[in-house]
Amino acid sequence: MTPVLQTLSLSKTYNEGPVDVHALRNINLEILPGEFTVIVGPSGSGKTTLLNMLGGLDTPSEGKVFVAGTDISNMSENELIDFRLHHIGFVFQAYNLIPVLTAEENVSFILDLQGRPAGEIKARAAEVLAEVGLADRAKNRPSELSGGQQQRVAVARALAARPQYVLADEPTANLDSATAFSLLDTMKRLNEDEKMTFLFSTHDPRVIDRASRVITLVDGEISSDERR
């Protein structure tokens, strides 16, 4: 099976004054379609840096990142932006919805940027909102939604353009237990029903419990990679 995501000898070094900080060292990784993977590790272990590399938000010091066989390591900024727009879904810890748009418009936003036809955008937004259980809140703005509902909208936004994978950075960190469980159930269902690939960076045991694969990072290196 062709991996959705693959890294080859990925390293990232930050130059902070006279000291070189090795955030990632020689990461070799393959994420297969439909996997529900979490990256865990203590603070400073390189989880976020790895996620940034996999999301095309940061460039490696060495090594390569392939998405469905395409090398994104040497793309220009605009190429990377367009690549993210069409191939990667993002879910942030703080939801990061656009406050002046309704839930439906937030979900439509990515499709709008892609230049899809209006009819298709409307239909897809309604479909994804229904999938995350928010069909009845489509016309509400983020300020009129609870934290859990906002994160569901964020998940719907990430899924709307049917990306090749979704990167979620601590998506449950700001949610209470019940809301977090409910959101994770929704994501797990989407993973199983639509074979959507999810990749999480998290400390949350509730997420780790549901993962099909757990990758542990320590000091910028993979210390374990466990498939369940």
């Binding site: 942030f92 002046v100 936003f109």
Partner: protein, 404 residues
Amino acid sequence: MLLFKLAWRNLWRSRKRSLITMSSVFFAVLLAVLAESVNRGSHEGMIRNSVSYFTGYLQLQDSAYMEEPSLDYCFAWDEQQESAFAAVNGVKSLVPRVQGFVLAASSSKTRGAMVLGVDPAREEALNGLQSQFIAGNFESGGIVLADRLAERLGLALGDTVVLLGQGYQSQQAAGAYPVTGLVKPKLPELRKQTAYLLLPDAQVLFAAEGMVSSVLVMPHENASISSMQKQMQSLLPADGYVMVRNWEELLPELLAAIEFDNASNRIVLVILYIVIGFGIFGTVLTMTLERRKEFGVLVSVGMRRGRLALMTLYETLLLGGMGVIAGLLGSMPIVAWFYDHPVPLSAELGEMSENFGVDPFIYFSADPSIFVSQAGIVMGMCALVALYPVLYVNKLNVLQASRA
């Protein structure tokens, strides 16, 4: 459309802030338009007065007359010339005059006076001379005195005034004329010294039969003065002494005064623009900095920096544009009203103004270029301010911003 929708809604995230900024733009445009309208209106009034009483928009005169306004520089003027110049495209009227300086004497007093030989009907069309009569009228062989000159000489209707001076080519100019009329010209300068004779009578007095000192030319509305000047000049012999001057050449002091006035007005406007510019910049700066994270997220999820910059540009232009439109809509009816109803000055101010040869009214100009230029300047300022968020977006560290 997406960017415009986002920009529009972003403006209303802080309704009060946006409304205050738009209000400041509104008042800036309103004040700037009114100030410029009064400025130009008063200048147009000064030009109108000077042109209608003294020079015309164009004037035929001897090339030496401007430096030395002597009767020796009179030139022949006949019906054939009159017809040729009247046929020039854009000419509304030609007003021939003979002008000379004399001593005017009553039985007990003598004063210096300016004698204007005029055609009353043409002067009426030029400056409404007929409406300035306070007693009597023009009569052949009689003289019409300006009210203050008559007062100085102690003369009334029916009295006789004796004129004594020098005519064309140093011939003696002398005559006794019954006062048949008294006028009150608008300009105080004219009230103190002007005596009007019918043109033929003045030509006889100055021994300049068939000659004039100058011919004032009034154009039809919207006629091109420069084109008329060229056409008229082409009717004159190239090696002759008579030439056509325009009002700007004839009134250099007035032009200089207007330029000076414009410069002071511009300084006030520039201060106003700077204050308003910083007001807009303050709002745009806050709107930009408080959304750093949002900008980072938008680029992260796939919005190109160029589109993001365009969105911020729309925001600033909308902010300024709405203020400008409101300012224009607010100022138009005010200017239109005062254009039709000039504001009369109080008695004291009016007198002061008359002493400067200006009508005792505040005139407003309704020239469309005032609205266009003020709107353009404020929008240009907004475009300048809009550069800040555009540059900010282009330099944004997306990774740091999205995690801020």
